[in-house]
């Protein structure tokens, strides 16, 4: 294990989650039950915020999709890491940027070969206009079958479309085989 790499990831997670402006700051093992609990907490918190219905619904919708992306794509690390990062370990975090905007962040471990394909996928989404994203969404919706576990390849496109902002990401190296993948999604009314 590379302790420097772990420290680097830990510093990133702690700095993020300890930010005082958050409305949700969660780290743990992602599961269907964990998603339910996060969504209950999120909904309660969003209802208390002085924000428009549109922003509240958009934030909830994007959160659902991001949490389910974690659920479907997060992988457990080898045994040596299990005491630090057990199971399908992930983070989910939302902070208030200003009264009209949130920043949602997810983090999870992925295999090294995924780094390139994920970067390419997000870069591609970022080059598309809202109209392009809409057409791409509709094409995949109409032509691609659901996988056995219920994923449809639409999640990230839907997130990009609903966000309306460029997605940002980074990969923190854990070791030569595993990376911590961080996705940031800005959410505003428009």
């Amino acid at each position: 294990m590379n302790q420097t790499a772990i420290n680097n990831i830990e510093t990133f997670i702690r700095t993020k989650l300890e930010d005082k402006e958050h409305i949700i700051a969660w780290r743990g093992v992602i599961s269907s039950e964990a998603i339910s609990n996060i969504l209950i907490e999120l909904e309660e918190k969003l209802l208390k915020e002085k924000i428009s219905v549109k922003l509240r619904k958009k934030t909830y919708n994007i959160s659902v999709e991001c949490l389910q992306n974690l659920y479907h794509h997060c992988i457990p690390l080898p045994d040596a890491y299990q005491t630090i990062y057990p199971g399908k370990y992930a983070i989910f975090y939302i902070n208030l940027l200003n009264k009209d905007a949130y920043m949602l962040t997810t983090g999870n471990f992925i295999l090294q070969p995924k780094v390139k394909s994920m970067s390419q996928k997000i870069d591609k989404i970022n080059t598309l206009t809202q109209e392009d994203l809409k057409e791409m969404y509709k094409f995949i919706l109409n032509h691609q079958k659901l996988s056995a576990r219920g994923g449809g390849g639409l999640g990230l496109i839907d997130v990009g479309r609903k966000s309306g902002h460029k997605l940002t990401y980074e990969f923190l190296e854990l070791d030569k085989d595993y990376y911590f993948y961080v996705l940031n999604v800005k959410i505003t009314e428009e």
Partner: protein
């Protein structure tokens, strides 16, 4: 044909498909991690219903939230309804969206552009 009734949960919608009246309702949230399992009985019910549908089928889809996994299953349901239209029966899909929820309206319009069934967008005002 038996009415299909499913109670809603925190992650799945309530369902009431009444063949005798030709009224099919889906209401609530559809955000399960894997939607295939939930939607299977709905697709199977429609598969039978389309062989002997009511003279007019009225569909009411009133979803507060739905995820992309559900969106494909909902399209599968709508494709069965399209078969009923092709067989020269009347079908209308009422797609409800909350006032200001443009994403939900747009989702309905996405379906409308893919599926050859008449849609009616219904704004729900609090």
């Amino acid at each position: 044909m038996e009415t299909l009734v499913i109670e809603g949960t925190q992650k799945t919608p309530s369902v009431n498909f009444d063949a005798s009246k030709g009224v099919l309702e889906i209401k609530g949230r559809s955000i399960p991690e894997n939607s295939i399992e939930f939607y299977r009985p709905l697709v199977e019910w429609l598969e039978k219903y389309k062989n002997n549908p009511a003279p007019k089928t009225e569909v009411h889809v009133q979803l507060e939230y739905f995820n992309t996994s559900s969106s494909k299953c909902i399209l599968d349901l709508f494709k069965k309804l399209e078969d009923i239209v092709k067989a020269q029966h009347e079908v209308v899909i009422n797609w409800y969206y909350e006032e200001d929820d443009e994403d939900m309206l747009e989702a309905g319009e996405d379906y409308e552009s893919i599926i050859k069934v008449p849609f009616k967008m219904v704004e729900v005002i609090d």
